[in-house]
C-alpha cells in the first residue's frame, strides 16, 4: 500500500515538475519571450481599432459618444 503512494505521489510530482520545465523550455526555444511588443499587441487584431469601446451600458451610448468627442477635442486643444 505504501509503495502505491510513493509511485503515485512521486510519479505525479515528477511528471508535473517535468512538464513545467518542458513548457518553459518550449517557450524559450519557440521565441515566445523574444518579442514582447508583439506579445502584448497580439490580443488586438489588425482590423480592430484601438482606443475604441466595445462594451457599454445600453442607455449610455450617446453620452459615451460625447465623452469620446470631448476627449478628442481636449487633446486637440
Amino acid at each position: 500500500m505504501i509503495s502505491v503512494y510513493y509511485v503515485l505521489v512521486f510519479g505525479i510530482m515528477l511528471l508535473f515538475g517535468a512538464s513545467i520545465v518542458w513548457g518553459l523550455w518550449w517557450a524559450l526555444r519557440g521565441g515566445q519571450f523574444s518579442d514582447f511588443q508583439k506579445g502584448a499587441q497580439s490580443v488586438l487584431d489588425d482590423d480592430e481599432p484601438t482606443l475604441r469601446p466595445c462594451d457599454v451600458f445600453p442607455d449610455l451610448r450617446e453620452e459615451y459618444r460625447k465623452e469620446l468627442a470631448r476627449r478628442a477635442n481636449e487633446r486637440k486643444a
Binding site: 514582447f36 506579445g39 499587441q41 482590423d47 482606443l51 459615451y64 459618444r65 469620446l68 478628442a72 487633446r75
Partner: protein, 247 residues
C-alpha cells in the same frame, strides 16, 4: 459624426459604436508611446522581490525545526525548553486503570473478580498480592496450563504483553491491579519492570504455574520496592523516555 465615412461599412467589428474618423486622431495620439506593452520591470519591484526572496530563505531556515518530522513547534528551542521546565507527569494509577480497561477487563472484569471457572480473579488473589516478580513475568510472557487461585483451579491462556506494553505501561497496569479492589499491595516501578524484562527477554514460551512458584526471588538486582508511594507516584519524563527505549 461622419455618417458618410466610407470606412464605416468596411469595419465589421463588433465594436462599431464609435465613428472611426472622429476617433482617428486621438487613437494615433494615444499610441504615440512605442514602448506600450514593453515596459521593463520597475526597479523598486526588483528590489522588493530580492528582499522577499532573502526573507523567505531566512524564515524557512529559522522556523522549520531542523526539518524534522517530529518537531511541531516552529521554534524547537521553545518546544524542548518548555518540555524540561515543566515535566509532564502521569499518575501511574490513572494510566494503569486506562490500560486495564482497554486490555484486561474483558476477562478479569471491571470488578477484578474474573469469571468463575474460566478466568481467575485479581481482587484478593495471592498471585497479585504476593511478590511482584511472578506477576511481572506473567504479564511479560503470558501463562498457560492449570493454575490455582484462591483455592480454585483455572486452565486458560493468559496472553503475553511484552510487545504491547513498554516498561512504564507495564508498571502502571501492575501497580493498578495491586492497588485496586482494596488489594493495597505496593506499586511496581518502571525500573523494576525494565530489569525483569531484560532478565527474561530470551524466553520464548509462556510460563507454567509451577515454574513461577519455584522462583524464590526476583533473581536480579532490582531497585528498592515500594520507593514511590502509590498516591504520589509520579514518573519523570527522563525516566519515562529511558524506560521507553526498551521495546
Amino acid at each position: 459624426m461622419a455618417e458618410a465615412d466610407p470606412r464605416h461599412t468596411h469595419q465589421l467589428d463588433q465594436q462599431q459604436e464609435i465613428d472611426v474618423a472622429a476617433l482617428h486622431e486621438p487613437i494615433l495620439r494615444e499610441l504615440r508611446d512605442p514602448q506600450d506593452g514593453h515596459e521593463p520591470i520597475p526597479m523598486f519591484m526588483l528590489m522588493l522581490f530580492a528582499g522577499l526572496i532573502f526573507w523567505g530563505g531566512y524564515y524557512l531556515a529559522a522556523y522549520s525545526g531542523g526539518f524534522r518530522s517530529d518537531v511541531l513547534n516552529p521554534d524547537p528551542a521553545a518546544q524542548f525548553a518548555g518540555g524540561s521546565a515543566a515535566p509532564k507527569v502521569v499518575d501511574p494509577l490513572v494510566l494503569g486503570e486506562k490500560l486495564f480497561k482497554a486490555n484486561c477487563v474483558s476477562c478479569h472484569q471491571a470488578s477484578g473478580q474474573g469469571v468463575p471457572g474460566q478466568y481467575p480473579p485479581l481482587a484478593g488473589s495471592e498471585w497479585v498480592l504476593g511478590p511482584d516478580y511472578r506477576l511481572k513475568r506473567i504479564l511479560l510472557k503470558g501463562l498457560e496450563g492449570p493454575v490455582s487461585v484462591k483455592g480454585a483451579t483455572y486452565n486458560g491462556n493468559m496472553p503475553a504483553f511484552e510487545a504491547k506494553f513498554n516498561d512504564e505501561k507495564l508498571a502502571a497496569v501492575l501497580s493498578f491491579i495491586r492497588h485496586g479492589w482494596e488489594n493495597g499491595a505496593p506499586p511496581v516501578s518502571p525500573e523494576s519492570a525494565a530489569a525483569t524484562r531484560a532478565a527474561v527477554k530470551d524466553r520464548g514460551q509462556p510460563w507454567k504455574a509451577e515454574e513461577l512458584l519455584a522462583l524464590e526471588k526476583d533473581d536480579l538486582a532490582t531497585p528498592a520496592e515500594g520507593a514511590p508511594a502509590p498516591e504520589g507516584a509520579k514518573t519523570e519524563p527522563a525516566a519515562k523516555t529511558e524506560a521507553g527505549k526498551t521495546p
